[in-house]
Symmetry: C2
Subunit: 321 residues, 2 copies
């Protein structure tokens, strides 16, 4: 694509053209040769105002229902909403998209709403990066609130949740290990706990377990993650959840905390982007894919030492004029 075409695409995307947004996302997801950085770079100045929320928790806790409820509530208030549903364990993007169409059928005609599924794309870490890029495009299309929902509670999900300004961790009674199953990594990223399906037996116990684990976990400055009870299927407690989010948002925007949090996120992303850019230049400077493969074959045969090879290849790039 020519520079002009990319600029035109960004213009259409910003004007609310859903097809342009979908096209841009596809370009970024496919890592289209050299186009993604330019596209993202053009969109970047039009971002920063939306509130980005991550929603994680064990499968079956009712995250999707809560996302739908929150989205519906904010749309009713006139706020525009974007949703990204990420399933790191699924290799199928296409399949997930079908799920979207069914799930968000009622909102298909709503110009203030956009939903997109993402699935795993080969490399580790790549999914968090790709999710961040897609979130940026959706935000640039003029959404006030972004909900990034993950399917499970593994390391991938934690990485994705770290992209968010506010992370909701959703639990529900009667899910086997309950809070134990979440592991400490998830507890560390929680800004707000949601006990969903709170009309079921055991909601008290789940809340008690959260409180008990919380006393062991590190705190987030002065912010003490609240526990909010909801029943996603009826909408009960969703007002309280929205209020907790609004409260945290207000806390974040005070004393530059939001910018500080985002700066930490950008430091991580910048590190990853720099690695990618260095590898791209490494390829330009003669370390081609097939050169890596040639060395790998010699290493597998025990004829070369991988650490020496890495040093030698890095030297070729860095010393080169």
């Amino acid at each position: 694509m020519e520079r002009n075409d990319i600029e035109a695409l960004v213009e259409r995307l910003r004007a609310g053209d859903v097809r342009a947004l979908a096209r841009a996302i596809t370009l970024v997801e496919n890592g289209a040769a050299g186009e993604a950085p330019g596209l993202l770079s053009l969109c970047f100045p039009h971002t920063g105002k939306a509130l980005r929320m991550g929603i994680t928790g064990a499968p079956g806790a009712g995250k999707s229902t809560l996302v739908d409820r929150l989205a519906g509530r904010w749309r009713a208030e006139g706020r525009t909403v974007g949703v990204i549903a990420v399933d790191p364990s699924s290799p199928f993007t296409g399949g997930a998209l079908l799920g979207d169409r069914i799930r968000f059928r009622d909102r298909q005609e709503d110009a203030g709403f956009y939903a997109r599924s993402m699935a795993t794309r080969g490399t580790l870490g790549g999914l968090a990066q790709a999710t961040a890029d897609v979130a940026l495009l959706i935000e640039a299309s003029g959404k006030d609130a972004l909900l990034i929902e993950t399917v499970g509670v593994g390391q991938d999900e934690i990485e994705i949740a770290r992209l968010a300004d506010i992370t909701l961790v959703v639990l529900a009674p009667g899910m086997g290990d309950d809070v134990q199953s979440l592991k400490a990594g998830v507890m560390e990223i929680a800004d707000i706990y949601v006990v969903n399906k709170a009309d079921r037996d055991g909601a008290d116990r789940v809340e008690q377990e959260i409180r008990a684990m919380q006393s062991l976990a590190q705190t987030h400055g002065e912010w003490i993650p609240p526990v909010v009870r909801t029943v996603g299927t009826t909408g009960e407690g969703v007002d309280n959840l929205a209020a907790a989010i609004a409260k945290m948002h207000a806390w974040l925007t005070g004393q530059g905390r939001l910018t500080a949090r985002r700066a930490l996120q950008w430091a991580r992303r910048l590190d990853a982007m720099l690695r990618t850019e260095l590898m791209r230049r490494a390829r330009q400077h003669g370390v081609a894919e097939d050169e890596l493969a040639r060395h790998a074959a010699k290493i597998a045969a025990g004829q070369e030492d991988p650490w020496s090879v890495a040093r030698e290849l890095a030297g070729k790039i860095v010393e080169k004029k």
Copy 2:
């Protein structure tokens, strides 16, 4: 550490000194400044002969019991065995080590056996890399068979399984979603399926489901992954499992397939190692951590564009003499 000290450590490790091995693993896990590459490089020539097996599958399928059975069987045959138990969702290495001591108490006096737990260490992808490094050290200490066991079935586990020559995927009847829960990513890496707890109702159905999914999945050349039934608690079927592993091993060593498989693994690792080495040099050439943090703060405040920053920083390194 001086070069001489590292050489002495490798000598002791190779001579079967368990403490030297543990020390080397700790150095590599902690990414001790500059020592890990030298240490690994010295160990590398003493590796390549061991068979590396990955064992993955849903929690509760009985992977640990099977690992213990296989290890016991091979030890009885006089083969030396190393075990790495990886839990990507746990942030605690120390805690996992306590588990080892209890689990492998009976083998504590056995010089032909070594077990080590690993847990998540901050960065994504880093765990697979660290597991590969630890596997290399254990192999260099003179083990004939390496069993790399993961706790769950997420993307991390798939990355770790990809380090292996042979990947076993363990299922068991009555585990909720059964085969469906494994997702296609796991099906693609399976070389041998194990239906454990085969004395329970539903073993037939699990096997049928595997066969059904298999017909959809890609094949591994001429190798059609067999399905082996076991009862880990009694040891039933473990002979058949060992035979299936031996058969695959023989198939792999024929026509250079093992070397080809390892070459693919090394190509992936070499790419990761090159990125790490480039970043290390980037730091030497003046892209310090605090420079990244400074840019990140400006990006978060919307004053700089991250893609331009990444290009600029990469340019500083690659253009530099």
